[in-house]
């Protein structure tokens, strides 16, 4: 039931310095459940990209394994709390521990692998966004209503929080999701994509941006759609707006 498209573009800033992009993304569809994650490695640490790549895969696999065993976990309870909350918290904790072991084996600190985290578990019964640091997660219903997970920055926009931080647990934010219906669009965005993908009020997608994309992707093959998304993120206009690495993961129910 899920169709998922994803693309990343290396920001001009990294490109000019011959550095690979620091964003990573991964998704797994198991049965009716989608697990998708985008991480943005910190440019200021040596292994931000490694941290982001490890985190997206390891965390997606961990969560997919759990929800595959019991898809009913995705349902949102009557009081609006996601049953997934303790599961997501536990999964992030477990993957952080594995990342700390990798860091130690290379005589580095977890901080050297700093990355942000934004992800979703979504199923026909509902789901949950989870986020540490910046970026956005948006579920836009067919009627335009949006559920959002916002970025959390420090006092200034250039300061954020990382999954590798000691106090990650205080900054892990969970947003229960209503059951997605046909025509809904779920988006995970790294920080670099947000300036043009999110509207000025920060209450949802910028519709003149997302609507033409969603219409195009509904008719596209996976390869074609991913290539078109990458073209868009690499376009001169997108680079002019944001010099950061840009990732956009879009999931739709057809």
């Amino acid at each position: 039931m899920w169709r998922v498209f994803c693309a990343s573009a290396t920001g001009q800033r990294n490109f000019e310095h011959g550095v690979a992009g620091q964003d990573a993304s991964h998704y797994i569809v198991t049965g009716d459940v989608l697990v998708a994650i985008v991480c943005d490695g910190a440019g200021s640490v040596p292994e931000g990209r490694t941290g982001a790549e490890f985190m997206v895969r390891a965390l997606a696999e961990n969560l997919a394994h759990t929800v595959h065993a019991d898809p009913s976990l995705c349902e949102v309870q009557a009081e609006g709390r996601a049953r997934l909350e303790p599961i997501i918290r536990g999964a992030v904790d477990a993957v952080r521990t594995r990342l700390a072991d990798i860091a130690a084996s290379r005589e580095l600190a977890p901080h050297d692998f700093s990355c942000t985290l934004v992800g979703c578990v979504a199923s026909p019964g509902g789901g949950c966004f989870f986020q540490i640091g910046d970026g956005f997660a948006i579920q836009q219903a067919a009627n335009g209503d949006c559920a959002l997970s916002h970025p959390e920055n420090g006092e200034y926009a250039d300061e954020t929080y990382f999954v590798t931080d000691e106090n990650w647990s205080e900054h892990l934010r969970l947003t229960p999701l209503p059951a997605p219906e046909r025509g809904c669009v779920i988006g995970l965005l790294s920080d670099g994509t947000a300036p043009f993908a999110v509207n000025r009020a920060r209450s949802g997608f910028f519709r003149p941006f997302i609507d033409p994309i969603a219409a195009f992707l509904r008719e596209a093959t996976e390869t074609n759609g991913n290539a078109a998304l990458r073209n868009l993120l690499e376009s001169p206009r997108a680079c002019e707006i944001s010099p950061d690495d840009k990732t956009l993961l879009l999931a739709m129910i057809l």
């Binding site: 920001g11 800033r13 943005d40 910190a42 440019g43 200021s44 700093s114 942000t116 640091g133 910046d134 970025p151 920055n153 006092e155 200034y156 926009a157 250039d158 300061e159 954020t160 990382f162 920080d191 670099g192 947000a194 300036p195 043009f196 999110v198 509207n199 000025r200 009020a201 920060r202 910028f206 003149p208 941006f209 033409p212 994309i213 195009f216 390869t223 074609n224 290539a227 078109a228 998304l229 073209n231 868009l232 376009s235 206009r237 997108a238 002019e240 707006i241 944001s242 010099p243 950061d244």
Partner: protein, 224 residues
């Protein structure tokens, strides 16, 4: 295979601001050696160089505070986006109330931050640049201490710069944890180009990163 998505609007909705306050000494001594004129030209260079860069023009937000006259501190117009910044024409004359001017700058930074926060606009750490060719004529020590603690609390970045030999660099240095720098040979133009490039760098800084500013050797006298 068609890989161009038609009709997608790509517009910057983020408006992430990089505030800059210029605290400029316009006391009587600035008339000497044509300094006030060089300062005015420097401001024009700053305005032009910020506007020449699309990101800095959109993100930079500038306020000019002048000090001089009969112990006057004057806010020269409102906060303006760099793309709309027209420098005031500064005149020299009078005293050097550095303390009152820096107090005004700290207050302006805080109220501007509150305004931006209330309207959901995110911002980078504001920069206050203090330029003086003399010695404060008011009670400045308490304000200088507040400047340092505001800096330590990451509320603001302060650059204190002395112009010429008569600038009391020790006193100016009390306004910032980084001390004061000296402007070499009245290189106002180089200074303001450097400042513009710094705002460009701050405007482009990625989330979570630190900003590496250009070296100051184009305008600063590094050994005194």
């Amino acid at each position: 295979m068609n890989t161009v998505i038609p009709d997608v609007a790509l517009i910057d909705n983020s408006d992430e601001r990089a505030p800059l306050v210029l605290v400029l000494d316009c006391s009587g001594s600035m008339q000497e050696q044509n300094k006030i004129q060089l300062l005015n030209e420097g401001l024009k260079t700053l305005a032009a160089d910020l506007k020449a860069d699309p990101i800095a023009a959109r993100c930079g937000r500038v306020l000019v505070i002048s000090l001089g006259g009969d112990s006057n501190v004057e806010i020269m117009g409102d906060w303006t986006d760099a793309m709309d910044f027209t420098p005031p024409e500064l005149l020299a004359g009078g005293l050097t109330p550095l303390g009152a001017a820096m107090r005004c700058a700290l207050d302006e930074v805080e109220s501007q931050k509150n305004q931006m926060r209330a309207s959901g606009v995110s911002y980078k750490r504001p920069i206050i640049m203090l330029l003086s060719d003399g010695e404060s004529t008011d009670d400045w020590r308490q304000v200088a201490a507040e400047c340092k603690s505001a800096e330590s609390a990451h509320k603001v970045n302060i650059m204190a710069i002395g112009i010429g030999d008569q600038a009391n660099k020790d006193a100016l240095g009390q306004f910032s944890n980084k001390g004061a720098l000296s402007l070499s040979g009245l290189k106002f133009k180089e200074l303001f180009i450097w400042l513009s490039r710094s705002i460009r760098a701050v405007s482009r800084a990625p989330a979570g990163g630190t900003v590496q500013l250009n070296p100051v050797d184009s305008w600063a006298q590094l050994s005194t």
